[in-house]
């Protein structure tokens, strides 16, 4: 009986307090915090358009570390092996293991992971992503109709015949859905299309393949991909 009363009282207090949580649709809040709707006169009487998220005050995120990164890259790209240096040394288990936040008790005597990412961590991550993306793109371009991500692209002499083609957007969408578990925004799709235009502008061969590898690399090494 007491527990029930306490629960009701707590709920009442919670509903009575001003909330800084986003609305049910993830929209703006009413407490003046980041992402809030506030002061309709501030912009000449026009309601300010605000982003539909609540900035975290604590900003508490963690780096994924070696094994999780490897597993996520493998899952996203449908690969059984993500990365080997010099054709034989595992990136996550051996070469970059400590740099990526792993431990190695038996040889190095390192029983605890490093307390923070190091200057070389971004480079080690990029290497893993480039290895993995190269493999995925090679497989997809080798079999365009049954690939995992880059399917049925309008290719002509190593270039995209039409960067505005629906297949390009669909490939980007598959990449985001597999790597970040969400659909890309229209702006993000356009950014990737622009990347292709910039790549093609240098006049060098293999623009389409390089674009696919680098689009994949950019998404896999984004902060959204590497931190949680």
């Amino acid at each position: 009986m007491f527990r029930k009363t306490l629960l009701i009282a707590t709920c009442t207090l919670l509903f009575a307090c001003p909330s800084s949580e986003p609305s049910e649709d993830g929209g703006p809040t009413r407490d003046g915090g980041p992402g809030s709707i506030e002061d309709p006169n501030r912009d000449g009487g026009t309601t300010v358009t605000t982003p539909s998220f609540l900035a975290s005050e604590k900003g508490s995120v963690r780096f994924k570390k070696a094994k999780r990164i490897e597993a996520d890259f493998a899952t996203a790209l449908g690969l059984s092996e993500v990365c080997t240096e010099l054709g034989q040394y595992s990136c996550s288990d051996f070469i970059h293991r400590i740099t990526l936040g792993g431990v190695e008790a038996y040889v190095q005597g390192l029983n605890e992971p490093l307390p923070f990412t190091s200057v070389t961590t971004p480079l080690a991550v990029e290497r893993m992503a480039l290895f993995a993306c190269r493999e995925r793109v090679s497989a997809d371009f080798g079999n365009p109709s049954s690939g995992r991500i880059f399917l049925n692209l309008p290719l002509a002499n190593g270039a995209l015949a039409d960067v505005e083609a629906e297949e390009v957007a669909a490939s980007i969408q598959r990449l985001y859905q597999r790597a970040l578990l969400r659909v890309p925004t229209p702006d993000e799709v356009e950014h990737h299309r622009q990347l292709y235009r910039d790549i093609e502008a240098d006049g060098q061969p293999n623009a389409a393949r390089d674009w696919a590898v680098l689009s994949c690399h950019a998404v896999l090494t984004s902060m959204e991909s590497l931190f949680y």
């Binding site: 051996f94 740099t99 480079l123 990029e126 480039l130 902060m223």
Partner: protein
């Protein structure tokens, strides 16, 4: 130590960002035009407790008086001394290392004779016999300067224009960063666990076959950094995360590593088709590869040799002004021919067999230091000055070892003891001197006058005093720190 404008500006910069912001994020406030001509600090960790009465302060049984049979002192013939140096050397030859049936032979005499003019021993009594705590106190002087480590202080003084001024390959307390929140971000230690293969993480793309050109890769990086990340809901939500801010700074610094081609300059491996196929992957060995491999031929099997090799390359290429290396606690032996390179627990194998562990480990770290000095002496800094002319090797130690032994035993175990000292090797220190001394009847060290260096029986040197003396010998500006002036530790001071 005098205060100056640069120090004031550094302090102001630190104060502006102090408090909630990670040290790594603080800006480099010293421009290239202001950078001091660097001095270099190499910390060689005596992991497990390197006991000075088992090396430079060894005691003969004939000197130990009535208690000699139960004091950690040596048969007279095992200790060598000379008239022109206060140092002693222990030379042992045994058939086993405790319970490990592998013979060994050590010779500290050669090291003393070769390096005595740059060698200084200072006595010291620590404040912890816990390995990790004591290790950290050995490099922070027990938080003598806001918790800043020796390496961080040197990096802050000389490393503003270097890519990775402070590289740390040790473990435990020797690897832990300091806690000084006013430390410039660039001076924070960069941990390295696998020195031989670490250069492969100094470029984001080199050595990977069939990749887009560097120009195209930079387009993708720009897309990611300036558009995808910057505009993402994830980043906007967690923008205040110190981890994300650090990541952004690290991405920026990483480009500097690539521009210096360190994946080549620091790579000691030769091209070995099959096992290390560098050329097949568009890579190459360091121009200094052959030189360092000659000095450290076992670097593929011995992590400490690999660390020393990288330490030299980092300093030689002006990537770092301080590097920390350390033997690990893992056993390293070969059976054919039988040789024990590193006993389990390193110096701490003294728990099982004090005399053997100390002998093998002192031989190990002195041998590494000797080869490092040779390399640094053979490399010009500028204008005829060698790198060694601007360097210091500090043999850090967790603590000493207990001073007793079972009656007349030559094979016994020891525990941890606060009382010990440090060995320092450098042209900057008061070389060929033992500051303080050791009581031959107790094996306990005593201190010295900080100004004159005169021995003072009954005085114990504090951690902060040794810390200060090392930094001042390296000409690090410690204005405002309150650290004592340890003139006796400096050469010609």
């Amino acid at each position: 130590m005098r205060s100056n404008r640069r120090h004031f500006l550094k302090g102001m910069g630190a104060a502006a960002v102090g408090g909630a912001v990670s040290p790594l994020l603080t800006p480099r406030t010293v421009g290239a035009q202001d950078a001091k001509k660097p001095k270099f600090l190499i910390v060689v960790a005596g992991a497990g407790g390197a006991s000075l009465i088992d090396s430079f302060l060894a005691i003969r049984e004939s000197e130990a008086g009535a208690g000699a049979s139960t004091l950690n002192c040596f048969r007279d013939a095992e200790v060598e001394s000379w008239n022109d140096t206060p140092f002693r050397a222990v030379n042992l030859s045994r058939s086993e290392v405790g319970a490990i049936p592998i013979p060994y032979r050590t010779n500290q005499s050669a090291f003393v004779r070769k390096h005595m003019n740059d060698l200084m021993v200072v006595t010291h009594t620590g404040t912890s016999v816990n390995h990790t705590v004591a290790q950290k106190r050995a490099i922070t002087g027990n938080e003598a300067w806001n918790g800043r480590t020796l390496q961080e202080a040197v990096a802050a003084e000389y490393g503003a224009t270097m890519t990775l001024p402070n590289v740390n390959m040790a473990a435990g307390g020797y690897l832990e960063p300091g806690i000084d929140r006013t430390l410039p971000g660039f001076a924070v230690g960069e941990p390295v666990a696998r020195p031989d293969f670490w250069p492969l993480s100094l470029d984001g793309a080199r050595g990977i076959k069939d990749l887009p050109s560097r120009t195209r890769l930079e387009l993708a990086r720009a897309l990611r950094d300036e558009k995808l990340d910057a505009e993402s809901t994830f980043f906007k939500t967690f923008e205040q995360s110190p981890r994300l801010q650090r990541w952004i700074e690290q991405r920026r610094l990483a480009k500097g590593l690539e521009m210096q081609d360190l994946i080549t300059k620091l790579n000691a491996y030769p091209d070995v088709p099959g096992s290390i196929p560098l050329s097949e992957y568009g890579l190459a060995e360091s121009p200094d590869g052959e030189t360092v491999r000659q000095a450290f031929p076992k670097f593929t099997q011995d992590p400490l040799e690999a660390q020393a090799m990288l330490a030299y390359l980092l300093i030689k290429n002006r990537v770092s002004c301080t590097v920390t290396i350390s033997p690990s606690f893992n056993v390293l032996l070969t059976t054919s021919p039988p040789a024990l390179t590193n006993p389990p627990l390193a110096f701490d194998f003294s728990h099982q067999s004090h005399r053997d562990a100390q002998a093998v480990m002192w031989q190990r770290i002195l041998g590494i230091a000797d080869r490092l000095v040779d390399l640094l002496k053979a490399t010009e800094f500028e204008a005829g000055e060698s790198l060694w002319d601007r360097s210091m090797i500090f043999f850090a130690s967790d603590f000493g070892r207990t001073k007793r032994r079972p009656s007349n035993s030559q094979s016994f175990g020891s525990s941890h003891d606060l009382n010990n000292g440090f060995a320092v090797l450098s042209p900057f220190v008061n070389g060929n001197n033992v500051l303080g001394g050791v009581d031959p009847t107790t094996a306990l060290t005593y201190g010295f006058d900080p100004q004159t260096g005169a021995p003072e029986v009954g005085r114990n040197m504090q951690e902060r005093e040794i810390y200060a003396g090392l930094l001042h010998a390296l000409d690090v500006d410690t204005s405002g720190s309150g650290l004592p002036d340890m003139r006796a530790m400096r050469k010609n001071a």
